[in-house]
């Protein structure tokens, strides 16, 4: 983790996948949220399908299973979404402190330390997020204006083509893909600012979150190549997740064992997604190390354990 190296996509991915304990914690949180979403449905699903010989052996995408779920949930019991997603916001805001710690410091993983860092930073990370949330509409302004301009010129974007185009035409043209690229860059700029801000909070133990947010934005704006690379990282993540999801969907269906296998492979899909989340944070940490060496502000190193200081613990 040399401060002189350029932030590398491959290095970040490597860290993301090596940090398997961190990913496991994130997966646990993901399970918790998804489990709460599905929990209200389980009694209905069990009652409808638990002793249903007509449904046995039928493919998932059939009128007897997924396409018949409307009848199962007619009297209630549909999955709940809002409350579990609220919990996700809280959980992720909490856990992100630990993720930043792992991305910055490396070294041996200890759950206690992970949760300690998470707890230490949670309030500041929450405030930072709210500050940077203000940047999101600004970042969205560019692709939105571009989409409107392109529409006026008769050029398609995936956001302005008609619904009919999705079914009968070609929503993905050179122009719409180009616009998607701009959207990806705008999102990458915002998301990288968020990650950089979190790294700054951790590394420099900043208390002023508004200043941290502003510093992060300036840092990211001064490193346009990093924004592009971060977008590339996101693109790789999306592709990897889609390919893994495709593999999961290709599995045979028809019995309990295969259903469990599909669920297991589904966890691989989620694992990949979460590993890339860690990779994104690592990418931001490397960017901060390269562009803003650690300040000598008193107290900064107090929270950066010596054995996991960046210079001592290169993760790869």
């Amino acid at each position: 983790m040399s401060g002189t190296r350029r932030p590398g996509v491959l290095e970040a991915i490597g860290v993301g996948f090596r940090e398997w304990r961190t990913v496991a914690l994130l997966l646990w949180a993901n399970w918790l949220v998804a489990g709460l979403m599905v929990a209200p449905s389980i009694p209905r699903v069990a009652a409808a399908f638990g002793h249903a010989p007509r449904a046995a052996g039928k493919p998932l995408l059939s009128t007897l299973l997924l396409l018949g779920l409307g009848a199962v949930f007619e009297g209630g019991g549909a999955p709940s979404v809002a409350a579990p997603l609220l919990l996700l916001v809280v959980l992720q805001t909490f856990l992100v402190g630990g993720v930043v710690w792992r991305a910055c410091a490396g070294g041996p993983f200890r759950v206690g330390a992970f949760l300690g860092q998470s707890g230490r930073l949670v309030a500041r990370n929450a405030r930072l997020y709210l500050w940077l949330l203000l940047l999101l509409p600004v970042a969205a302004l560019v692709p939105a204006a571009l989409a409107l301009g392109m529409r006026a010129l008769g050029l398609p974007t995936v956001f302005t083509v008609s619904g009919e185009t999705w079914l009968f035409g070609r929503p993905f043209t050179a122009w719409s893909v180009l616009h998607l690229g701009v959207v990806a860059l705008a999102f990458a700029l915002w998301r990288l600012s968020l990650d950089v801000g979190r790294v700054l909070l951790f590394r420099d133990d900043l208390r002023a979150t508004r200043r941290a947010a502003w510093r992060a934005v300036r840092l990211v704006l001064r490193a346009p190549l990093s924004v592009v690379l971060y977008a590339v990282l996101g693109g790789i993540a999306t592709l990897a997740v889609l390919l893994a999801a495709r593999g999961r969907a290709s599995l045979p269906e028809g019995n309990a064992g295969l259903a469990l296998l599909a669920l297991g492979v589904g966890q691989l899909v989620l694992w990949i997604r979460l590993a890339f989340q860690v990779a994104g944070t690592r990418f931001a940490a490397a960017l901060v190390e390269r562009t803003e060496p650690p300040s000598e502000a008193p107290g900064a190193h107090d929270v950066w354990p010596a054995e996991r200081a960046p210079a001592d613990a290169p993760p790869g």
Partner: protein, 685 residues
């Protein structure tokens, strides 16, 4: 005459004798009464979206009463303002295909400029706007003209009409979109004078409804001869056979089309369309020339439209009635106009869909719409029911017919085909499926409906109620009747219905009469209950449980030898003889009082069938049999033949043993989807 024979010899088929010649005129006796025939002349000015037309109308009074007042439709006035009945209903139903998004120049109208008898008598001053359905004073989609002398019974009148119209922006399968114009319901058109015993009327009655947002049409048969003048660049396709093409000095072209024995005339004028031709030939069936109009950007649509049309002509010709017309035109609209103008039927002229990158070799989207619209040529084009009041006779039967044709060619819905090009390689495995069209339609079944199937289109509760009732539910009713009489008899019912009522106006009772006669039992009570009631069906095995019970009895007080109640422990040791005591709870969750048999399957393989009393909405059956072997391992209502109207076929059977496969599949998929959603939202955090 030699050419068809030569072609037939070359391709090895022997077509049936043609019913029409190559100019669209019938060979031999007329197939229909030709009550209302038209000679239409229209000039289209696309720059100003203006149509000027004349119609020479010949109408025969089929009734035994003189008729002085003639009723007409002026459909395009539905698009005249936001207060037309069509606009109001479309807005109320939340229909996308309304005038809600119209801007200043989008509105359209029809104005009758002149109405004269052959002797020059002007009857235009007698024009009166009528609102027979809702009394909406702003609606101008129906008008009457009163003649100075009534048309005597069986007499004929000829009227010369002149009209001018502004073409509306494309909506509800008519109008203009860019360089493409679809002319549906575009000329002043007579209503239908219903004559006893037609559809149960007792006195001659004009049936001429306003243009509604959720109903289609009704017209008499006749001969149509149309001269259509358009700019030279426009490709024109229309009902019937093209019989002439004349270049005019002013840069326009006049196309002439003719067809006998049809109920309507529609056409399309399209600058930039590709016109592709093919021929349907099959042993024993009349030869049909096929034309497809398709946008250049979606020309791969044409081969699939041809193939689907041929499959329908083949199936319909063999199972219902040979398609008699010499020509069939399919218009695949330009991209962007599929929603508003694709999927519409007119005699010998239908609109389908166009797709830039159809999935090969058979794209279910293109096949389904083509089969369905071509199928209308039987159930609406030849059996001209009143779609205002009994739309199921067209849409419901045609939905049934569509599933028949698709099953015949082995084509199912594969959701992977709905993915846009560029993503199919990635998404195809995720969406891969094979769901029969009839199963997709069966998903519309519910235990209780909002409306009866037989009712005027505008009296349904909403747009989805119309669709569910007249399409999918009506098709399920037909399947229910099929189940009652068996597939072979039902096939004969449909053929007889088609043969008997072709080129006439059947009603619901006429269909049920044929069904009863050919089905070998009176299907009218059942048919009426299904079509005129709101009851649905969801019969379910709600519970199944079994307990082992010792033959000698369980614990408790039993009379000892002297008659004194004495406590006795259970004698149910594992080695002692025992009974399997099982309880099965069966429920009727819908209102249809169908016979409800329940088949119980025992562990030893024996089976027994019980009946739920017809006046009960639930029954609990207690069954005791020797253990082991006497446990009920499966209970099933309607064994072997689930009713097509059943809202939830999964609950028709229940097993004693758990079926973890489907439960885990569904629960696992829900969990996985929740995880993906959480991960996606997590990207923003």
């Amino acid at each position: 005459m030699l050419l068809p024979l030569l072609v037939s010899a070359l391709v090895g088929t022997t077509p049936a004798p043609a019913r029409f010649d190559q100019t669209g005129r019938s060979i031999g006796p007329a197939l229909s009464e030709r009550t209302a025939s038209y000679v239409l002349e229209a000039r289209y000015d696309p720059a100003n979206r203006q149509v000027k037309g004349t119609a020479r109308l010949t109408w025969t009074n089929r009734s035994d009463a003189p008729q002085a007042t003639l009723w007409f439709h002026a459909y395009w006035n539905a698009f005249k303002n936001a207060d037309s009945t069509f606009s109001r209903e479309a807005s109320r139903f939340g229909s996308r295909s309304g005038t809600g998004g119209y801007r200043r120049d989008d509105w359209g109208w029809t104005e009758i400029r002149a109405a004269r008898l052959p002797d020059g008598t002007d009857v235009r001053p007698t024009l009166r706007w009528e609102r027979p359905d809702d009394g909406n004073a702003a609606d101008q989609t129906v008008f009457t003209l009163t003649l100075p002398t009534p048309v005597p019974p069986q007499g004929t009148v000829t009227l010369e009409l002149a009209w001018e119209a502004r073409v509306p922006k494309l909506a509800a399968r008519t109008g203009v979109a860019g360089k493409y114009t679809l002319f549906g319901q575009w000329f002043p058109k007579l209503g239908v004078l219903e004559v006893p015993p037609q559809r149960g009327v007792r006195t001659p009655t004009w049936n001429c409804h306003q243009f509604h947002a959720s109903s289609e049409f009704y017209a008499d048969f006749g001969s149509y001869d149309a001269l259509l003048t358009v700019p030279r660049a426009m490709v024109v396709a229309a009902t019937g056979v093209r019989t002439g093409r004349t270049e005019n000095p002013d840069g326009t072209v006049t196309h002439r089309f003719h067809q006998d024995d049809v109920i309507d005339f529609a056409w399309a004028a399209w600058d930039g369309a590709l016109e592709v031709h093919d021929v349907f030939r099959s042993d024993g069936l009349p030869e049909v020339a096929l034309t497809v109009l398709v946008p250049a950007s979606a020309q791969q649509t044409a081969p699939q439209a041809f193939a689907a049309a041929k499959a329908t002509l083949e199936h319909g010709g063999r199972h219902w009635l040979p398609y008699p017309y010499p020509h069939l035109t399919l218009v695949a609209p330009p991209l962007g106009s599929n929603d508003e103008s694709g999927g519409m039927e007119y005699p010998t002229f239908v609109t389908v869909y166009s797709r830039t990158d159809p999935v090969g070799p058979r794209d279910i989207l293109l096949w389904e719409v083509t089969v369905h619209e071509v199928g209308h040529n039987w159930w609406q084009g030849m059996l001209a029911s009143n779609e205002f009041e009994e739309a199921w006779l067209d849409e419901g039967i045609d939905t049934w017919a569509t599933a028949e044709v698709l099953e015949g060619v082995g084509l199912d819905w594969n959701l992977a085909q709905l993915a846009p090009p560029g993503t199919r390689w990635l998404l195809a495995p995720v969406l891969r499926s094979a769901v029969a069209d009839r199963d997709i339609r069966a998903r519309a079944s519910v235990p209780r409906y909002q409306s009866s199937i037989v009712r005027p289109g505008w009296r349904f509760k909403g747009g989805s109620d119309v669709g569910r009732s007249t399409y999918s539910r009506a098709a399920a009713v037909l399947r229910t009747l099929e189940q009652e009489v068996g597939p072979e008899r039902f096939s004969r019912i449909m053929r007889t219905y088609a043969e008997r009522w072709a080129f006439r106006h059947p009603g619901t009772d006429d269909f049920l009469q044929v069904a009863s006669e050919i089905g070998g039992k009176d299907l009218r009570p059942l048919g009426s209950a299904l079509l005129r009631g709101t009851a649905g069906l969801d019969d379910a095995v709600a519970e199944l449980s079994c307990k082992r019970r010792p033959v000698a009895g369980g614990p408790g007080l039993y009379d000892a030898d002297g008659g004194t109640p004495t406590f006795r422990r259970s004698r149910g040791g594992n080695a002692d003889p025992a009974l399997a005591r099982c309880e099965v709870l069966v429920e009727r969750r819908g209102d249809l009082p169908f016979p409800l048999p329940v088949e119980l399957t025992f562990q030893d393989g024996n089976r027994t069938t019980l009946q739920v009393p017809s006046d009960e909405i639930w029954s609990r059956f207690d069954v005791e049999r020797p253990y082991p072997g006497g446990e009920v391992v499966r209970a099933e209502v309607h064994p072997g033949a689930p009713p097509p109207l059943d809202a939830n076929p999964v609950n028709d059977a229940r097993s004693l043993a758990a079926t973890p496969g489907p439960a885990l599949s569904v629960a696992g998929w829900l969990l996985y989807s929740g995880q993906l959603l959480a991960a996606a939202v997590g990207s923003l955090l």
